[in-house]
Amino acid sequence: MKVFKERLQKVCVIGATPAGIAATNKLGEMGIAVTLIDESPDLNEKLASDMWRMPSGVSFNYALRPGLLRIMRNPGIRLLLPASVNSIKHTPQGFSVRYKKRASYVDPNKCTLCGLCSQSCPATGPDGAKALRYGGRHALPGRPVIDKRRTPLCQANCPLGVNVQGYMALAHAGKYAEALELIRKDNVLPGICGRICTHPCEAACRRNDLDQPLAIRDIKRFIADSVLPNSSSAKPAATRPEKIAVAGSGPAGLAAASDLIRLGYQVTVFEKENSPGGLLRYGVGPFRLPRVVLDREIDYLSQAGVEFRLGCEYKPSPDDDFSAIVFATGLWKDRKLNVLGEDLHGVVGCISFLSAVFRGEIKSISGKTAVIGDGNSAFEAARTLVRLGAEVTLISWFPEALIPADAAEVEGALKEGVELKTSLKVARFLGTGGNLKAVRLIPTKPGPPDAKGIPWPVSVEGGNPLEIEFERVVIAIGQTGDATHFEGYGDGFTTPDGIIRVDEKGGTGAQNVFAAGDVAMGPSSVVSAMASGRAAARAVHGFLTGQTVEHRSLSRPQESDFPPITTEIPSIPRTVMPELNRISSRDLSVEVSLGLTEDQVRSETSRCLQCGVCSECFQCIEACRAAGAISQADDSSQAAEHAGVVIIADPAFAPGIKGEDVIRAYSSKAINPDVSAQMLRGFAAAAEAVLLLGDGAPRVKGHGISFSPPSPKLSPELRAGVFVCRCNDALGWDPELDRYISRLGENSPVEYAESVASACAQEGAASILRTIREKGLTRFVLASCVCCPLDLICSACTDQRSRLKAAIFQGTGIARAMAETCNLRGEALTLLKSDPALAVSRFKGLIQRSIGRVAHLKSLPTPGRQYNFTTALIGVSEAVAKSAQTLGQMGMEVFWFGSPDGPLSSAPDFPNVHAFLGSSAVTLKGTVGDFRVVVRMEDGGQQVFSAGSVILGNRARKNLAYMPHPDMPPHEFADSMQTKDARGVPFFVPGATSIAGLLLASPPGINVSERLKGTAAGILAATVMPRGPRQNKGYTVSINEILCRGCGRCVKACPYRAISFHHNSLGFGYAVVDEALCKGCGNCISICPCDAADSPYRDRFQLEQMIEEITARG
């Protein structure tokens, strides 16, 4: 059953295969809106496939490059690349195609393909590929593509969300400053965390699946230590009026202060001690965290604008003008064992002991000392005690294997001589005269695991207690808060243990009071405390502004998984950081760990699997700052494209959909159809699409004139400008070039000279245009990557070049003839790095010669010609009938004749088709728009019919004489496409011939049905007709009538019949070039015996001048 659809005048082509490209091009030429969807991000790369090589040996991407660039420049054609199709559904207006466009992160309209981003991209995965895929300057569309996957596990598992992969990549590239900058975005204490972080990132590292996790913390330490602090930076001014108080300068307070400063607030940190750092200074030994590192990182915050008030405890006062207060005061009360004898002299809490040591109140300790506890703090105390001279025993109630402290801590302590006693718990402390003498311990065993799986130890029933003599005991079983500190904030502000109750938004029971770190969440790690500080900062900002701050980057496509860990990736052991040996370590201030060397960092970072591919190091964004083409925001989209007609050109790409109005431009039978067949299928699909679109599609009928709008004539006045494109300095620059450019204006005829960062960028082209107009320039040198100013697309043309030419010459009133171009980028700038002197001399030579040429520029021809929009069909085959039907249904006028050896005996009745029964075409004359078919009519008489295009059936192709000139034998034209090693055949698409407008209903040697071939010929005929004014080509040959001796060589040689023969008054012939047909190859010039043929663009004298400039003058 046929369903009537009121179709949208738009076609959706799915699959940029040769068939898809052929269909898109033809529909584009018809003026029909097209959306082309393909999974590949780069048409050039996709179509370079050997599978689609043309029979001539040229790969499809280069052979069809003019067509591909026309797609880029056609405002009616929309590209969705890279994208996939989820579903296609019938709608009353045609189809709805649901697609998902993947993010490329690069805007093709702004990208100049300068390559800076590619140079800056440090990420190299295990296969050595960069995350930013720069496919060279032939990419279509002209932009690189960034491959980005979901958030790497290291980053996901970091409470701060630090972009580990990013700084791994930067460190591997030796960009330590950039790496440090990246770390600091999320972690303002890199040197500290590089030493004492509990590194949850390493636990999540996918390298665990392969061998061992990456030594992320050690690399971070190297980065933090290797970059010298920048001391000169002035304090940035606050951008917001609010002042925030942060109480406490531990990790939570510092992290909160840092984020608040970045948000623009004025931040004051209160610290009751005389030095900032909190637990970092008073709870961590300098042998693990040298104070110079701590001071350096606090200094960084001071420089960033954080004000520290030291020796000053924050007390709320009616006078203060803080808009918000963040409590990050930590937990400073030691938890008690609550056993007998805990008040004996000689029994101290861990934190009070350590803070006394680090304040300098205790310088040395001798004698037997026990540390009770098994967390990191216990080991911290034990190792501190060793350094103070004590004989240390650490007593844990867990068996050794279950000790919760970091294994490295345990190992370090043992190395340093700490004795470890395990599975023992303190029963009581024994003393005499108020002084500790011994500790009574009872054996334990792991109990039943709790909800979290921790087997809390229980006493061994009937176990024998043992007593050990100690002079001193340090109890390190945790800290609690002090509820009395916060009495002014009301009941329930804290827990009974003095921990501030915080809601999920970071708020507390008091309105503008926030809390972070241990005081808000109980004892935890440095990194968690910092995360909590950052959360508090976000809460403050939310409270004051109502705005939310994103904590984590949202630009990663979370559904895109990591590249798999393949067997090709070698297993490499983790790099071990060297440490001091035990003997020389008995000094509090000597750091035990020595840090990695640069070589170690380089090799260790190379172990990073770069799981997210793009590491989000943002170096490319920085590199592209001028052009602003790269954004790390996910620009993927998922939407529905509505189109009147769908053409599926790639069977592998579209989901199944049924319906007789679904056009499929591929064969379900032929597994590997040749590229010519695919193109023919594409043409046929385009024709079917036009038919489906019905009356709304644009038509041409009758007669018309096509012309190039006349270019402005070159002014006799010579006022030249020079515009030099620096290509964003991607290839480097030399100050000498600036000096040279600045001096150009001193010499006539140069009125003005400047360099622009990038001419193909919108602003670049606009500024050139503006200057040409403002300065009244009549000629100009465009020194960029553009080689010619012509409306010519050769196989080396690029998206950027064509974009720049379109911006300068299309509809601007600037004539192509005004411009002299040189490929400065290719011929000079590319040498700047390898041979600067040569580059500078080439640069000057190119510019100087171009300036020399502007005076000799010539106006370019502006051809116009008449078109008869009728198509003549010659032949009786099925293919010819199909052409007739197609064109007729499209609304084109058609004349149908028999071929010389077979009169048209019968013909179906098609609309708009005038079949001349009994007729036979005899000969053919003329050229496109103006063919003459000489026909023998049924009654034997001859008639001449005019037609704009001609479609020949197979027998007509073999037998009909093409006689463009009455005085000459039939003109042989090429009717089979270019094939390797076959000389003399110009490029044309299947179904066409070397004569424009002369088409084949059934092109030979292509394995496609006659029906499809005939349909394809229909669209070729329909599109050969111009649909409006044309661009001035500017590269045609002209023949001087006086010089021409009428030898006829050029007439015979021209593959396009662009040259015709006329009679002069001297009794013989002369040749005339039809500028609308001439393609400017210039072969006629080189066979002309009398120099009559020449081209206004790069004529003989210009070429001679170039040769002399290069050879004679060097």
Binding site: V58, R983, R1045, C1047, R1049
Partner: protein, 526 residues
Amino acid sequence: MENDLKILLFLCNWCPHAAFQNLQDTLAPLPAEIRMIRIPCSGRITKSLLFKAFETGADGVALVGCPPGACRYGIGTGVAERNVDDTRGILRLLGLGDERIGFASFYPDQPSEILEFLAGFRDRIKELGKTPIVPPSRTGKPALTPELASSIMGSHNIYTCQDCGKCSSACPVALSGKPFSPRAIANAAATGELDSPRISDDIWSCLTCGLCYDRCPSAVSFPDFIKEMRNVASANGRFEAHEGFFHSLMRAMISKDLPVEHWKWLAPEIQTDPESKMLFFGGCAPYFDIFFKNHLGISTSNILADALKLMNFFDIYPAIMQNERCCGHDLLWSGDRDNFIKLARLNVELISDMGIEELVTACPECYRAFSRDYRENGIEVRFKVTHIFELADTEISKGAVGFSRLNKKITFQDPCRSRRSQTGRQFMRNLLGRLNVRVFNEMRDWGASSLCCGNCAWTGCDSYSKAMQVSRLRQAKETGSDLLVTACPKCQIHLRCAMEDPVLEDEIRMEMMDLTSVLARTIQWE
């Protein structure tokens, strides 16, 4: 000094350009000695442009296009190969060898292949070393002032013109329909209108055939006047035919170190004697044959071989110069006297060094240059200059020599450089009379009234030249002859060129043979 090498690369827009740009974009090590000129198609580059590079000092020239079957325009690869092949033939004659010019073709996705080719080409040129061609200076023309014009007019009796118009009515250029008049040139010079087209254009159209001088009651030496004017007027190469190829060739030959190999093609049965005091001077025919081989199919070097055979027939075994150069006639007559003099001096020096006492030539222009133009330009020629026709006529007159039957009706085209000389008046007609042919008929205009072949000194070729040639060929046809005998290689070239006509075709097509060849091929002892 390696970077002093200058290698020119003509690079087609299409396939190879894409590959080349890929090399630029990837910062590949393109040889610095190679400089690229981008062209629309390899078939666009004429032999003249290829050779121009060598004239101006290029050490190597590479033309790079698309592989056969992949030329965007179909014909370019073949045209380019023929042009390179022809130019290579010229280089071979000049002793520059085969390898300084290269042609290659690449697909767009063959950047490494093109790089390999370019590096290899550079290396080969480096091995060959610098070109022996020293680019000749082309400056030195004095500015054309009214005083200078006046003095030239004075020295050639132009002021004695009585304005009778006999010159114009005899001038073949004017008769061809071209708006051209010798008198108008003279008048423009006399009135100081030096910028007018009468001076700037018409002096290059004159054939310098001298018919006007023959008719002039005041014996105004118009050809010499034109020659002088050309030597002072600026032409910017615009009137050089064949894009100045032959002018480039002549200028290149001024380089003394050029190891010309002028005679390598000569068949071994032709005997010459290096010790002989008589020199056979061949002229430029071998170059002409290469340059025109693809279209005109002429073989003017046969004239030289036949001249030598003729001399051998008379038991004369002359010396030949392997490093023979052009006589320079066309440089002088196309306005480059400076370089003519340089070339003439070099010729005289080379010939004198061989101890030559007599020079024989079969070319009327060489004969004219050595016997007259050299002397008139202050170059002392100490050897006797003889035209082959004089030598042949003299030898035949000694008796016992006859001619075998040539079953042709013949007519004869007098060369303008000989028609008024003794060679023309006496020897050519004597020889024609001796031939054993069906019939010899003179054309309507013959002898001293004979019409020029239509071009002089490779200048001013256009549709009017063709008209002259067509009318001359019609005259030849009118005689009912089937063989047109000529006596100058250029007559053969120009008349053959005119026969290439898709409209007139058989109406003007005719077999041609040089008189020297006719003589050599039919002479026999009786």
